[in-house]
């Protein structure tokens, strides 16, 4: 269990003079080195802003590399190892760096900015709020989408801490932060801090409290044991005090990173590097099993080879960076992709089955309220749902996943038409190449993707194949997509894959007439088999209302091992159903069945399955053995 110091001040990037900035940088390096030596396993650079956020406030904190640290302290590794051994921290655990923003809040309008849609906040790993008056504090406890509430205890508090507010914040999973460097620096402030902090600690009993230094210089950093002692003097038991700098920090980081990297906290999109493609023996999911829940993707310094090479570790480059949804979405044309555009690029991207395609590996529920791709006259003929330009997106779906078709490295999302008034369009369900493999690591993904599929009022056909990670269909008009409760899913086994993803589908190029070949990725199939079981169990955990899990199992003519339930889309307008989307090309023997547990929202639609209509004869409602219990 590592120790974290989540508040190392980072001064702004607009220094008054160059000298200031170099001094600041060297101070920062020193502090980092000191923290490393003292045995901390992670730190966060904290930037404080006040007032209104602007675009300039995007995260621009440079993370320090191992080489810069070693320049200053060449014998870092031996000292680090020494202290780590004493503390009981494994020597090889990486030293992590995070970026953090603290927003000082005065007015209500500023507090409104602290929501999950704020793009500037998304550029930081951790978001903290510092309320300066009572209203701000109340809002922060109850509504703001932040990770930490950091209160400046060093002066008389401008507001009162109220127990119900504190409790509400804890319930929402927000952590309170107590900084200890002021205790060291100034004797007079010590009184204030101790009395104020004691109050907080009495109420929270150490739950959801983290301790950190806001060390202005290297002399104010203290080792983890010493900090725990400080807290125990303030009224906590030693065990809770130690947890405040280790366990609480770690769970805070897990949550914060999940919020940042995962779409709607369940699904994570990663780009698959092209170098993987040559490595077809290694199963794809081997990488997923190594998912590190508190890795921020970069800034992890691995200390193993420090002693050997004194050079920056190269392992960091292997961590796959999550694709930021926002950036993808922003680049999307508003009307969705034209299939023909996609197709042209798709030729090159076709890979043999074993190729890894981009996959959705976000454990966040994918809201597949995807804008449907513009149906085109394309030769791709799936049983497609009509595609509409303006997909009726689900209310809550703000970031539809779209497949970037021609790019093997991008995530494909099957988009499907929403119900549109125009019936005549052909739906192109997207992605010829949709291979979505979701990351299994996060079990919650599987379950909770709230996939919102838009329901199309389809006149056209019906089922189409796609790999959805999670589909949640939205009935016509903006019924709220029920978001799956991702928390339901426990995270344990990384092997939990969304079955969907397991199936890698390759759809043959549109030029082939109307036949979509679905090739099942062999690996995926195997994975599917494994995952079905795990998925089934996980599915059972899902909250009935909220969970949609999709499992796609492929049943190929030659291979019966994988079964995908497939439910065709309904074409009726009004029913809100949980649908299992079934993607089946008309002509296919191979049925890619996607099974979605139904959303109970409509609940009456639980019996929907029967009512699912499919024009396709090949549609089957496959065995429900894996159906999650609702």
């Amino acid at each position: 269990m590592g120790f974290f110091d989540l508040n190392i001040p980072y001064t702004d990037s607009t220094p008054l003079s160059k000298a200031n900035s170099t001094v600041a940088k060297s101070t920062r390096i020193k502090i980092v080195i000191k923290a490393m030596e003292l045995g901390y396993t992670g730190i966060a650079y904290n930037r404080t802003i006040r007032g209104v956020m602007s675009d300039r406030d995007r995260c621009s904190i440079p993370l320090l590399g191992l080489s810069s640290l070693l320049d200053v302290a060449p014998f870092l590794s031996s000292s680090v190892n020494f202290h780590r051994d004493l503390l009981g921290v494994p020597r090889s655990s990486p030293f992590r760096q995070y970026t953090r923003l603290t927003v000082c809040i005065d007015t209500a309008s500023q507090s409104q900015a602290l929501n999950s849609g704020n793009p500037i906040l998304k550029t930081y790993d951790i978001v903290a709020v510092r309320p300066l008056n009572q209203n701000a504090f109340d809002h922060a406890c109850e509504k703001a989408e932040v990770d930490i509430i950091s209160i400046d205890f060093s002066d008389k508090l401008p507001f009162r801490l109220k127990l119900p507010m504190v409790k509400a914040a804890i319930k929402r999973g927000i952590y309170f932060e107590i900084t200890y460097s002021d205790l060291i620096v100034d004797v007079h402030q010590r009184r204030q801090i101790i009395s104020n902090a004691k109050l907080l600690l009495d109420w929270t009993q150490g739950k959801n409290v983290i301790l950190s230094s806001a060390a202005p210089s290297v002399c104010e950093v203290r080792g983890p044991n010493d900090v725990a002692n400080l807290a125990s003097l303030l009224g906590l038991s030693m065990e809770r005090a130690k947890a405040a700098i280790s366990k609480n920090c770690r769970s805070l980081l897990t949550n914060a990173l999940r919020r940042k990297h995962f779409f709607k906290e369940v699904i994570r999109v990663e780009a698959v590097s092209s170098s993987r493609q040559s490595d077809s023996e290694i199963p794809l999911y081997a990488d997923w099993l190594k998912w590190d829940p508190i890795s921020s993707g970069e800034g992890d310094l691995l200390l193993d080879d420090m002693a050997k090479s004194f050079s920056a570790s190269t392992n960091a480059s292997k961590t796959v960076k999550a694709i930021d949804f926002d950036s993808i979405i922003d680049k999307m044309p508003s009307h969705g992709f034209q299939i023909k555009d996609l197709i042209s690029g798709s030729e090159a991207s076709f890979q043999p089955q074993t190729e890894v395609k981009s996959f959705l590996s976000t454990p966040q529920p994918i809201e597949l309220s995807v804008r449907t791709n513009q149906a085109s006259e394309n030769s791709i003929r799936h049983d497609l749902f009509p595609e509409t330009d303006d997909a009726t997106l689900d209310n809550t779906c703000s970031e539809p996943l779209t497949s970037a078709f021609g790019d093997p490295q991008k995530l494909y999302l099957a988009s499907y038409a929403t119900k549109t008034s125009t019936g005549s369009e052909e739906v192109v369900t997207d992605t010829v190449m949709t291979e979505i493999e979701s990351e299994t690591c996060n079990a919650s993904v599987a379950a909770s993707g709230s996939v919102e599929a838009e329901n199309q009022g389809l006149q056209s056909k019906k089922c189409y194949e796609q790999n959805f990670v999670l589909l949640n269909e939205n009935v016509n008009d903006g019924l709220n997509a029920v978001m799956l409760n991702e928390e339901v899913i426990s995270h344990q086994t990384s092997a939990m894959d969304i079955e969907l993803e397991a199936a890698a589908l390759e759809i043959s190029p549109p030029s082939e007439s109307s036949v979509e070949t679905i090739k099942v990725d062999d690996i995926a199939v195997d994975m599917d088999k494994e995952r079905q079981e795990t998925t089934a169990s996980s599915l059972n955990n899902m909250s009935s209302l909220e969970n949609i899990s999709e499992r796609m199992s492929l049943r190929t003519s030659e291979d019966d091992a994988v079964i995908v339930d497939q439910i065709s889309r309904q074409q009726s307008d009004d029913e809100m159903r949980v649908k299992d989307d079934s993607l089946v090309p008309n002509h296919e023997n191979q049925v890619l069945l996607m099974e979605e547990p139904k959303l109970a929202e409509a609940d009456s639609s639980m019996n929907d399955l029967g009512s699912v209509r499919s024009n396709e004869p090949c549609m089957k409602l496959s065995s429900r053995k894996n159906q999650p219990q609702y």
């Binding site: 003292l38 004493l86 290297v218 002399c219 203290r222 044991n225 003097l233």
Partner: protein, 146 residues
């Protein structure tokens, strides 16, 4: 009874041996800190059992004794120490144990390791004096008593 606290002082980055730490130095600094933080009463009750038993100025290691009742306060005060004389310092707890014997073993181990690090840092400038001094210190640890 006896509470020993092993500390590793003097971890500031800015200086390099600008002051030689001795038992007296450290003791004074800690007492001042107790006075500031816990007042006369606190100082008085801790003083009864407070003692700096061993200091190694090369590896900057020291063993501090305190009673089981008061050790937390003393530990806190030690953490609050910012400077010894004019020199900025930083105390870091390495080991906390309840008997002198356990402290001795821990201290020996830490001393060895720290001395290795010191040798690395000093490199070629290692002098015989220093080595001899280290030997003396290690002997001192071994004869430390309650």
């Amino acid at each position: 009874m006896v509470m020993e606290v092993l500390l590793d002082p003097n971890k500031e980055m800015s200086g390099d041996d600008s002051i030689v730490i001795t038992q007296f130095n450290i003791s004074k600094a800690i007492k001042d800190s107790i006075l500031v933080n816990f007042g006369e009463c606190g100082l008085a009750s801790s003083l009864r059992s407070f003692q700096v038993k061993y200091v190694n100025s090369i590896t900057k290691l020291c063993i501090i004794r305190a009673s089981r009742d008061e050790y937390k306060k003393i530990w806190y005060s030690i953490s609050m120490v910012r400077s010894i004389g004019n020199c900025l310092v930083l105390f870091n707890l390495l080991d906390l144990s309840g008997s002198i014997k356990a402290c001795k073993t821990a201290a020996l181990k830490c001393d060895e390791l720290k001395f290795e690090q010191y040798k690395l840092m000093v490199g070629a400038r290692l002098s015989v004096d220093v080595i001899r001094h280290m030997q003396n210190c290690i002997e001192k640890i071994k004869i430390l008593e309650h």
